[in-house]
């Protein structure tokens, strides 16, 4: 079954773009992606642009309301995700722990809903 791993971290935490440490982080991400791909677990995965580029959309009485920014101002923000095919929660947890941002941020692991047809 599929689990989404939502990658959260505080915007100032972790290596800054342009630094050698940031290059190392990207490299670690490549390694991780390769690992889950080779295990046949990688369904999807993407990094997201920072929350400063976010737009929040809602509707009220048919009227579309648009706000600049994420839906909530939180200390830790969503930076990316992986969608993984795993045998069990244990396997999902084991791999979520290897996502490089786990070192300075947090990964939320949630099962994807399956609808019986």
């Amino acid at each position: 079954m599929q689990y989404i791993c939502l990658i959260y971290s505080a915007e100032n935490s972790g290596p800054k773009p342009g630094t050698p440490e940031f290059g190392e982080l990207l490299q670690k991400y490549n390694v991780f992606s390769e690992e889950v791909k080779s295990k046949g677990m990688l369904v999807a995965g993407d990094a997201l642009q920072p929350v400063s580029t976010a737009t929040t959309v809602t509707t009220e009485n048919g009227k579309v309301e648009i706000t600049d920014g994420p839906f909530a101002e939180t200390k830790e923000t969503l930076g990316g995700y992986y969608l993984l095919e795993c045998k069990s929660l244990d396997e999902a947890i084991e791999h979520a722990a290897k996502i490089p941002t786990a070192e300075h941020g947090r990964i939320e692991v949630r099962p994807v809903m399956v609808f019986d047809n």
Partner: protein, 414 residues
């Protein structure tokens, strides 16, 4: 025919004894916790009626599981999932047909380890782990568990329902963890069992369940795990520790519900059977040379248990054991307990120095036992003003009537 009350007693005892094993086997068969619980509960209710009429079956446990399995099969036939569940159904029906077998291991395969490891899965919070363990392995009713936590039954029911749902939806696997993860996962199981043992319900007795019942349940659970994982020395270590603690059950409080310290307890009222069992088990475990924190704590407890009086206690040995314990589990709590041993093995001065070293620890600043221990040391050393100050602080931090009464008593009596 058994009179109704006796029958109910029999069923009640049987249920407490066998609930965990039967439920574990049902969950293992068709991986649906709620259904397993429901069919087992229904079977018990049916048993009350049928055994009343027909008398007790030769093997009540086998009767219960067979009935439960039949109900599960009926349930699956009725639901839309019948087709995809063919293999599970076939397995269940197969089990049912071999129900002539009275070898308990075949009739009710023991899946209690899988069950307890799943209850104590790290993705469930500690309180949920405890509640789920009590419900599924202990067979305690939701109201009893709620009462133990001073929760409303409704709240506890929701917690349990949420946990079972998470296990199903997030697919927490029903299995014994593999070798590399076993130690870590087992340590959570032991922590949960010890928490159950220590749940001294502040009000001391809930309406439905007493502290004593929970301590008994913890010991029972530890026995099961020890029997199923005989090479894991810390399980035996915990069992030994709990037996030794429990041997003092009736000497801890006086008739006014005031706590009695270890120093003043009536040792002749300590349960010799439990002490003997705890000590023998510990001896058999220590020789396996895989020492851990529970074994060390048990060893300390055993030294107290075997000492005829507080004065005759082997304090240097206890101090040495605390030192080993600290190496495994460096915590202020260990130092506080060790300080008492140091005060007798060495000097009060040395003990006070040990406490001074941890005085500014974040965890210690509002930790009642620290002040209680230091108050006692100061008092013995003749430092009355310092003792008074510490007793007052300890009293202010105490959240337990029995303990508060004890401290107030000491404060008023010097």
């Amino acid at each position: 025919m058994l009179p109704p009350f006796q029958l109910e007693q029999t069923i009640s005892t049987l249920v407490r004894e066998d609930w965990g094993r039967i439920l574990a086997s049902l969950v293992s068969s068709f991986n649906d916790w709620q259904l397993a619980e429901d069919v087992l509960q229904d079977s018990i209710e049916q048993a009350v009626v049928i055994w009343q009429r027909d008398g007790l079956p030769d093997s009540p446990a086998a009767w219960l599981i067979t009935t439960a399995r039949r109900k599960a099969i009926d349930h699956f036939r009725r639901t839309a999932r019948f087709v995809e569940l063919q293999p599970e159904l076939a397995y269940l029906i197969g089990l049912e047909q071999s129900s002539e077998d009275f070898d308990i291991d075949n009739v009710i395969p023991d899946k209690r380890l899988e069950l307890i490891f799943t209850c104590c899965h790290p993705s469930l919070d500690r309180k949920t782990q405890v509640a789920l363990t009590l419900r599924t392995l202990g067979g305690l009713r939701t109201e009893e568990i709620a009462s133990a936590y001073l929760d409303k039954p409704q709240t506890m029911a929701q917690r349990l329902a949420r946990a079972k749902n998470k296990i199903a939806v997030a697919n927490i696997p029903f299995e014994i963890p593999e070798e590399s993860k076993l130690r870590e996962r087992l340590s959570a199981v032991l922590c949960v069992i010890y928490l159950i043992f220590n749940e001294g319900y502040a009000a001391s007795t809930g309406k439905h369940i007493t502290r004593a019942d929970l301590s008994d349940e913890a010991i029972r659970l530890a026995r099961i795990v020890a029997q199923l994982l005989p090479e894991q020395t810390e399980v035996a270590g915990l069992l030994s520790l709990m037996l030794l603690h429990d041997s003092r059950r009736f000497t801890r409080q006086d008739s006014n519900n005031t706590m009695i310290s270890l120093e003043d307890q009536n040792r002749s009222a300590w349960d010799k059977g439990k002490i003997s069992e705890g000590v023998e088990l510990l001896k058999a475990t220590l020789v396996k040379q895989q020492i851990g924190a529970y074994q060390l704590q048990a060893a300390i407890s055993a030294l107290h248990a075997e000492s005829a009086s507080w004065q005759e206690t082997d304090w240097p040995q206890i101090n040495a054991l605390y030192e080993l314990l600290y190496a495994t589990q460096p915590s202020a709590v260990v130092r506080i307990n060790q300080a008492v041993a140091v005060s007798y093995a060495d000097s009060i001065e040395a003990a006070l120095t040990m406490l001074l070293e941890i005085e500014n620890d974040k965890l210690v600043k509002e930790y009642q036992p620290f002040y209680a221990a230091r108050a006692d040391l100061n008092l013995r050393d003749g430092r009355k003003a310092a003792a008074k100050k510490d007793f007052k602080k300890a009293i202010a931090l105490s959240d337990n009537d029995s303990q508060t009464a004890f401290l107030v008593d000491r404060l008023n009596n010097f």
